[in-house]
Symmetry: C2
Subunit: 415 residues, 2 copies
Amino acid sequence: MLPALRDRYAELQARGLRLDLTRGKPSAEQLDLAEPMLSLPGVGVHTDADGVDVRNYGGLDGLPQLRRIFAELLDVPVEQLLALGNASLTLMHDAVAYAFLWGVPGSERPWGREEKVRFVCPVPGYDRHFAVCEAFGIEMVTVPMTPDGPDVEAVAALVADDPTVKGLWVVPTYANPDGAVVSEAVARRLVSMPAAAPDFRIFWDNAYAIHHLTENETKTANAIDLAAEAGNPDRVLMFASTSKVSFAGAGVAFFASSPANVAWYKKHLSVQSIGPDKVNQLRHALFFGTADGVREHMRKHRQILAPKFAAVTRILAERLGDLGVASWTDPQGGYFVSLDVEPGTAARVVQLAKEAGIALTPAGATFPYGQDPEDRNIRLAPSMPPLAEVEVAMDGVATCVLLAAAEKAAHATTP
Amino acid sequence: MLPALRDRYAELQARGLRLDLTRGKPSAEQLDLAEPMLSLPGVGVHTDADGVDVRNYGGLDGLPQLRRIFAELLDVPVEQLLALGNASLTLMHDAVAYAFLWGVPGSERPWGREEKVRFVCPVPGYDRHFAVCEAFGIEMVTVPMTPDGPDVEAVAALVADDPTVKGLWVVPTYANPDGAVVSEAVARRLVSMPAAAPDFRIFWDNAYAIHHLTENETKTANAIDLAAEAGNPDRVLMFASTSKVSFAGAGVAFFASSPANVAWYKKHLSVQSIGPDKVNQLRHALFFGTADGVREHMRKHRQILAPKFAAVTRILAERLGDLGVASWTDPQGGYFVSLDVEPGTAARVVQLAKEAGIALTPAGATFPYGQDPEDRNIRLAPSMPPLAEVEVAMDGVATCVLLAAAEKAAHATTP
């Protein structure tokens, strides 16, 4: 089998491909969906629904007209939702920075004055979450992901006993990379479990809240309400953005939480910011009009994305389905397929793919410090290339997975 | 004289004015100058001069096309200039935050781990600079402003002897509020003076670099080059923005410094940001085209602003000129007139004005912690109201200045 696979791999290399499945970037075709925004709000249109001149200073909370639309989509009261800059990553980073510099409501001292700060990181997870932790010297403690979200008993045990555990990352809807959706039961447990740290926070990164790949438009558990009901109103900090709704990098990011946390965030933000880009917020409000306008827009994204995801899982099933060398997710939304290959071969698969002109996310990227202890997880991001390229790339990836597995088997049986 | 002034003040109150000279906001007429931007870049225009799709992720440094324009205007190499978010305040805050969390090149430890951090604050100065210091617990040590910038001997003495002095705020061009322009000699001294702290930094807030009020378009001393020549290449962090060029809040902010400082800033920014809003940067590049396009645009601002500033100084001269109760600046650029009234009466003047329907910046705002030790400085911001309102407001302010001075004199002579 190894020689046959080597031949097939040689053929793959001979094609001189240049394909990229590395990052969850929208395709040009998706970006075209929002192209009319490039002429908005339009000459002469510079006041919002409340008569505010969006070209001038002011309005730290963001444009109410836009906040109303996304308050409905994110299922939070508009007073508890801020519409801010161009990236939720910045809001998450800054929330951690504010906590390190000044603490959060309930902190005994700034996190930067603690001897140690730990975050619980479900794995596989999002590399930029881990990068924030690494920058702040936060020790990352991993727990496994399940189809219903983080392994909640493992999380609860860590949080209950260890007052240095200050945070938990959660991507509640169509998680990066495994597509899991936090169930209502898991959400209830996460917001009600006892926490040794009085200032424990869940960083609820709702990046894919409305990014469905099927007609079943999953509604995320309302963690902010559930936390309030459970008597832990300040536990959840929610983040979201339009990066994969309108334009990546030219969208609007949102922060939602309890009234106390929103006041805390605004207190620190008011020193840092003269207010968000209200022109861009008006541009978004005018383009989408209503929450239903956003939902309709997301269905157009789905029409472009769903065939690419279907191709990924179809080709993986065709090439690897019966061989027991790999497993993968079948996400119902979001931007990723999580592929588990033979333990000890993920880095090799990525290397083989690279040498055949197929760029994959580095092996280990879905784990803290880039270290996958089993060297088996690979994040596939099929959104950016055209469908035909996704198909070619995935066929190539399957060859690499098989070759790496065969190499491993050969190595194991060779004295 | 007091009764006559009381009568005049009563007349003023009877007019039921609602005028606002509080903040340096551009007027609607100024914002109209950039109105065509509201339809830019335009449907179908989504690649920059280098062929990059500005609608997608990427490009932490900002759009080269826009950086080239502002590199010329700010007189820095384009490689040392980053085009970032919507506010230079955010960049200044974040530079301080990075320094507190991780230190700057040359730091022995993060500033947050120092027992004490002091900044030298020329006064009168900008309240938002002071607010940043206050938030971080930075002790502010004041030095007087002179027409050539901060009192450089006072600064040099503080910086030379005290290793806790880590920073100095400077608004080098048309300073807020007194309009001073840092001379070449002062700039040379600031960048070459010995510093006890190895990681001393000048926060060179070039907010009004191109905001001239006369035909004499003052060129700011190139502090970054001068610092390199003086053997202190990493001393200067420069900040600027288009907030008062295009739209306030929907503009582009810039960071410029030495290669080492730019690398430092980007290292931390790369954890915080997925890159700036490139669509907005392209919008700016297309609207202005070239550095000369920006200069031409600023002359249109000047035509709107200059008459308002002329009205302020004319009315102050007419009403207060020979009476020895006040002095004021005659700025050649920027957004403010600094008014010094009789010591001990600034707060009273602001109160009298408020009760006559004229909102002024709170007395003390131009000093750290809002405390003007002599209670004499008032910052006037005539940009926002129409010219006719500026004239009415300033006549009212003059009445308040006179009344407060007369009240003080009467109090002094009453047993």
